[in-house]
């Protein structure tokens, strides 16, 4: 495992997710199906937490380390999202998606999303506002209102990684979760697509790619806090 970059400022919660898009039937992707395909262990199967299910529409269940959500979409962009809440479990996520990949690739679009979501907490709303307003640094925008307050930041970027196109987005917005202190979302979305027709995106999905994207995402979050 390549070493991961450390956070400059440590988030209170993280979520690392990998999303497959395509035509998926949530009823097929049961915990039993996952076990039969060696994606989860017998212990996982026996202790599965079925969070919710609506036949034909969506399904969500958790193992001790992995969380899965399969959802039908009216725009025919169904998705399977698998995620972890602790970066220490990254190898479990990686092994899952590498084994899952060949099982679903015939139904999947050649797009992958690797999202990295965080919650940061602040002692006061003012402290959070000061950080957000650092991005409001043009005189033109600053002069529109008295006491302006930046509410949402969205920055899109693009890079290439391992022969793939990576459309990135940094998304920052306050959160209203009552169990956290003045929380702020700082999220990075990485949408991977192929650069040329003669490659298959699923053939490029490996441990190095995922770890590189995680490192790059942490690096971008660090840049925001610098």
């Amino acid at each position: 495992m390549k070493s991961k970059i450390d956070f400059e400022k440590r988030p209170s919660e993280i979520e690392l997710g990998i999303v497959f898009f395509g035509l998926f039937n949530p009823d097929i992707f049961s915990p039993k199906w996952m076990f039969d395909n060696r994606l989860i262990s017998k212990n996982d199967l026996d202790n599965i937490q079925e969070i919710e299910q609506e036949q034909g529409n969506f399904r969500m269940f958790f193992t001790e380390f992995l969380k899965l959500r399969i959802e039908k979409d009216s725009n025919k962009k169904d998705f399977v999202r698998v995620w972890i809440n602790d970066l220490k479990a990254i190898e479990i996520l990686i092994d899952f998606v590498i084994l899952f990949n060949p099982l679903i690739k015939s139904s999947a679009e050649e797009i992958l999303e690797i999202d990295f979501k965080t919650h940061y907490q602040f002692d006061s709303k003012n402290e959070r506002k000061r950080l957000m307003n650092k991005s409001l640094n043009t005189d033109k925008l600053n002069s529109i209102f008295d006491k302006p307050k930046l509410e949402v930041v969205r920055i899109d970027g693009n890079s290439r990684i391992n022969g793939l196109n990576n459309d990135m987005q940094l998304a920052i917005s306050p959160c209203n979760r009552p169990d956290l202190t003045n929380p702020l979302h700082v999220n990075i979305y990485n949408q991977l697509s192929k650069l040329v027709d003669n490659i298959n995106i699923f053939d490029r999905l490996n441990e190095d790619l995922i770890v590189s994207i995680v490192n790059n995402s942490i690096d971008k979050i660090n840049l925001y806090f610098k």
Partner: protein, 135 residues
């Protein structure tokens, strides 16, 4: 006023901006990782197993001794010299009570490589000409 807030945790899709609890705040059987070790099995003597493990937090290597019984029975097929594993040390919560626990999780992907290697070794041991002769 534009304001993004955490959406309904249960119904939010993949682009929900909500990290963290992911729709569940009352895990019946949750495991909180305190630290993990990464490594591979060095030797197996009966049910005694020795593994060379690395602690990424302290950047230290060490030998971990454990018993086959520590590993979930369905994972026993993954126990062989050279197999890669992670050991998670932390706390499990069962029926609201926390207790120390550990989990031995074998790298599935590398296990597949091992299977492929064993198939290849078998092919080298039984070359095509020998098989065709037997046929």
């Amino acid at each position: 006023m534009i304001s993004e807030v955490c959406k309904d945790k249960k119904r939010s899709g993949h682009r929900s901006n909500h990290p963290g609890k992911g729709g569940n705040t009352t895990n019946r059987n949750s495991f909180k990782i305190e630290y993990k070790l990464e490594g591979q099995i060095e030797s197996i003597d009966g049910d005694k197993i020795s593994a060379k493990m690395y602690n990424p937090d302290s950047d230290q290597w060490g030998i971990l001794h454990f018993a086959l019984n520590d590993i979930d029975k369905t994972e026993h097929k993954n126990v062989f010299e050279g197999s890669a594993l992670n050991v998670f040390i932390g706390k499990e919560r069962i029926n609201g009570t926390d207790r120390k626990a550990k989990r031995f999780i074998f790298r599935k992907f590398l296990y597949d490589t091992k299977v492929i290697n064993s198939i290849l070794e078998s092919m080298y041991d039984n070359p095509i000409s020998q098989i065709t002769t037997e046929l």
